[in-house]
């Protein structure tokens, strides 16, 4: 068993509260700068959905000393790459550059953290509103099965919970966003004491400290960052929710979704491994049974998405082969989840899952960009950047019994959403396809993307 190299890092704060994490790695002449703000779509209120993500786009429209889209020009001109992304629990901004250009990224991030509103105008807001609306059309509205994720998240959280709506938001709310909204959002959440800055790579820590102090040190903290209330929800949905959707799709698809333990809870580690055993590649149980042996599905998927507020979710699907009954596929899917909830997996299955997770971690942590992102994530969500070194041991210590237990607690009929997507057909034909009163369905490529965060650039 290869041992993972430990990520050594320093962890400190500026006087204004900005948390700075530095990890040196001299292997390649590259440096990653990664800034997480503790604000995401969960901070949006009714009528303002999609706002955190729209705001992320505005962050690339210039600040006091940087012109519109000049952020991209400067980073790419330095031989770097950059992006930003928004998700339920966070917004992050990141640059990866040749290491001698690291200072540029710090200067750029500080200028917009301090002075975004100097450059804000109606024209830029309107422009990015249209861009984001086209992002929504491209990622969801104009895709087969494209509505599944919004429906799934909506069913898994109650209407008054901030996870009820998805990060991309609604067209009506995007249309309603005003300059005042942008200003208020910026003043409230974009403060150094609400952010974590991680720098990883071929850098001198003393340089990074000096530059961080120079560029960020003069940005005042916001002492009044509002805290979200109690986001807890019952562990179980409390009943089965079913919906049938008719869409422009050639093949029916059955989606399932469950409430799951919060991100950070070690039961979610066990559920991650359960998802690996069920749908992680060609050796997995669902693939083997539905796709390979019984040949009733074209493809299968299952994944746990970790959220820190109230509950995570575990979602998956099977795309039907032509001519197969929806009922049969759904029943087989449930059967395999139930089997995992009844019997502990074999030693060999567990060993294989562990080996794959280990390789995946080794691959992920080999890139400075990924390491910087994880340090920022663990610091922001758990105040514990050292989790970067402890997550793999946690995964490797999960037992067959823990997997069975979390499967039993999660994969229950009274904790699930079932969406069945069916092809749009004339009513007579549709009746023949339906095998029960409820039916709906989604998309393979779109499903992956929909479960991703929203980025500023495609």
């Amino acid at each position: 068993m290869p041992s993972l190299p430990t990520v050594s890092f320093t962890d400190e704060r500026l006087a204004n509260g900005l948390r700075l994490i530095i990890a040196v790695d001299r292997l390649a002449p590259v440096a990653a700068v990664n800034l997480w703000y503790d604000v995401g779509s969960k901070h949006e209120v009714e009528g303002k959905t999609g706002f955190a993500h729209l705001f992320e786009h505005v962050m690339f429209q210039g600040s006091r000393n940087v012109g519109k889209a000049e952020h991209m020009a400067l980073v790419q001109g330095a031989g770097g790459t950059m992006n930003g992304s928004t998700w339920l629990d966070r917004t992050n901004y990141y640059e990866t550059l040749p290491s001698h250009q690291a200072e540029l990224a710090l200067w750029l991030e500080a200028d917009r953290m301090g002075t975004l509103l100097d450059a804000l105008n109606q024209e830029n807001l309107d422009n990015q509103r249209e861009v984001v609306k086209n992002e929504k059309r491209w990622s969801y509205d104009n895709r087969p099965y494209g509505s599944w994720y919004e429906k799934m998240q909506g069913h898994l959280f109650p209407a008054d919970h901030p996870y009820h709506h998805v990060t991309i938001g609604s067209m009506a709310d995007l249309d309603a966003a005003s300059i005042d909204d942008v200003s208020a959002f910026f003043r409230t959440y974009y403060a150094p004491n609400n952010a974590v800055l991680s720098v990883v790579g071929d850098v001198d820590p003393d340089d990074i400290r000096r530059w961080t102090e120079r560029y960020f040190g003069g940005i005042p903290a916001n002492p009044d960052i509002p805290h979200l209330g109690d986001l807890s929800v019952p562990a179980l949905l409390g009943g089965e929710v079913r919906e049938t959707v008719y869409d422009k799709v050639p093949l029916p698809r059955v989606y399932v979704g469950f409430r799951a333990p919060k991100f950070g809870d070690d039961r979610l580690d066990a559920l991650d491994i359960a998802a690996q055993v069920l749908a992680g590649g060609k050796g997995s149980r669902l693939h083997r049974r539905l796709v390979r042996d019984e040949r009733i599905a074209q493809d299968v998927a299952l994944v746990a998405l970790g959220f820190v507020g109230g509950a995570s979710i575990c979602v998956g699907w099977a795309t039907l082969r032509p001519g197969v009954a929806v009922d049969q596929v759904e029943a087989t899917l449930h059967e395999e989840l139930d089997r995992l909830a009844r019997e502990p997996i074999s030693d060999d299955e567990l060993a294989r899952a562990r080996a794959l997770i280990e390789t995946e971690e080794l691959g992920g942590l080999s890139r400075v960009e990924e390491r910087a992102d994880r340090l920022s994530m663990y610091a922001t969500l758990f105040d514990d950047p050292d989790l970067i070194n402890r997550m793999l041991p946690r995964y490797l210590s999960v037992t067959a019994e823990q997997i069975r237990d979390v499967a039993a607690a999660t994969f229950r009929a009274d904790n699930r959403v079932v969406l069945t997507y069916l092809p749009e057909l004339p009513p007579a034909d549709t009746a023949a396809l339906r095998t029960d009163e409820d039916a709906t369905s989604p998309d393979a490529a779109g499903a992956d993307d929909a479960a991703e965060d929203e980025e500023v650039a495609a």
Partner: protein, 502 residues
Amino acid sequence: MSDTPVARVVAERPTPGTPRPYEFPAVARTRLANGLSLAVIHLPGRHLVSGTLVLRNGAADEPDGEGGATVLAARALTEGTERFDAIALVEASERLGASIHAEAGWDAMSIGVDVPATRLEPALELLAEVALHPTFPEAEVDRLRDERLNDLLQAEADPRRRADEVFAATIYTGGSPYRRPSGGLKPTVERLDAARLRAAYQRGLDPARASLIVGGDLTGIDVAGITERLFGSWGAAYGAGPTGSIVAESAVRDRFVRVVHRPGSVQTEIRIGHVGLPRRINDFHALSVMGAILGGLFNSRLNTKLREEKGYTYGAGAGFDLRRAAGPFAARAAVNTEVTVPAIVDLLAELDRIRTAPVDAAELKAARDYLVGVFPLRFETPGPVVGALAGLAVHDLPDDELTRYRPAIEGVTIEAVLAAAGHIRTDQAAIVLVGDADAFGAELEAAGFGPIVIERDHGAQDEGRATAVQNDLEPVDEGPAGPTEGAESGEASTADAALTPD
């Protein structure tokens, strides 16, 4: 919140430090007695090792009647070998924490593995088993073929895949393999069986034309010895077919518009272009710089105009897909339906502008600096390093192609960019649209881009005001399907991984 304290920031922009010297990693090359080329790249500290065997049979080498055989053959390699059935194979590789993956694209087939260095040898044993002793079990081949047919059904509903398919079918003549997706279309895919897959696979099974590339921290590992043990007895007796020339002729004479009507679409997928260029050209570096300026950089002309000025799209771009023979050139964007025609006007105007007028010095500098600077970022880990070398093998390019890349980019001039832009044609281009023709049809006619063909259903066509529909515009009766993922992520992209801005 009115009395927010004032932020002090520093107006002065930082100047870059001293770049750390960088060279593409050294490649140690040897050759086995049977001719197999071995490239070993030692990358200290990179404990996840990447290995790839490249076979020189691509989808472009298939007879017309067997379109899709090579991509499917690659997929079938892991479905059974002389020693393992599919499940035994996947379990054996999972125990190593390795995934053995095989895929084919237009120009080659590759069998690859990523595995911790400590388990490299048993992983390469599995790779050799998959590469040299596949059995193509009939039942698994049938399943894979049916999955591809179903995937083609799915592709019909996906506007992006449909636009790519129709575009390729529109710009190439009937005799070109590039007219179809590399994974093939229904009429040929439904005829594929184990014998045809085996034939496609065997076209590449010549050690003298194959390459094994291994990169990572190989301290204490005798890669050459392992390779000799696993591949030394691989003889040319397995048989191999020579590669013929690939037809890549243009079907586009005068500019025209082809619309696939998709009622209710909220966006229109636009492709504008024509048959482009092969990988082996003298002005490759100028073409890369030109492509970055036109449609590669975030602040490329197309993205700046259509996204940052107009808000028509989430992203617009353009580029040449360089293959052994001339792959397509396309400008592309998905725009909201109402702005379909103005977006086409803007795209054509930008294509014309870069063809006819020199770029600014600042644009040239931005593109060169990006391509040169981002090079080391791309090769941080073993996977991309191995992928770049696989690309060289596919195109018979020497190792110094990578070391000379940055100086060559630095040397590109404004004149060279203008000359490279001369490969773009706007008067002999196809404009392919997938969207709601009822919403923009009248405006499209009025715009006068050229003759218009509208396909409202499978094969059914409405002809616009013009009747000059060339005979190569027959309907795509089998319905377009996008290239499969395996086909797209194959060697065609690795060849130029370093060379195409994202």
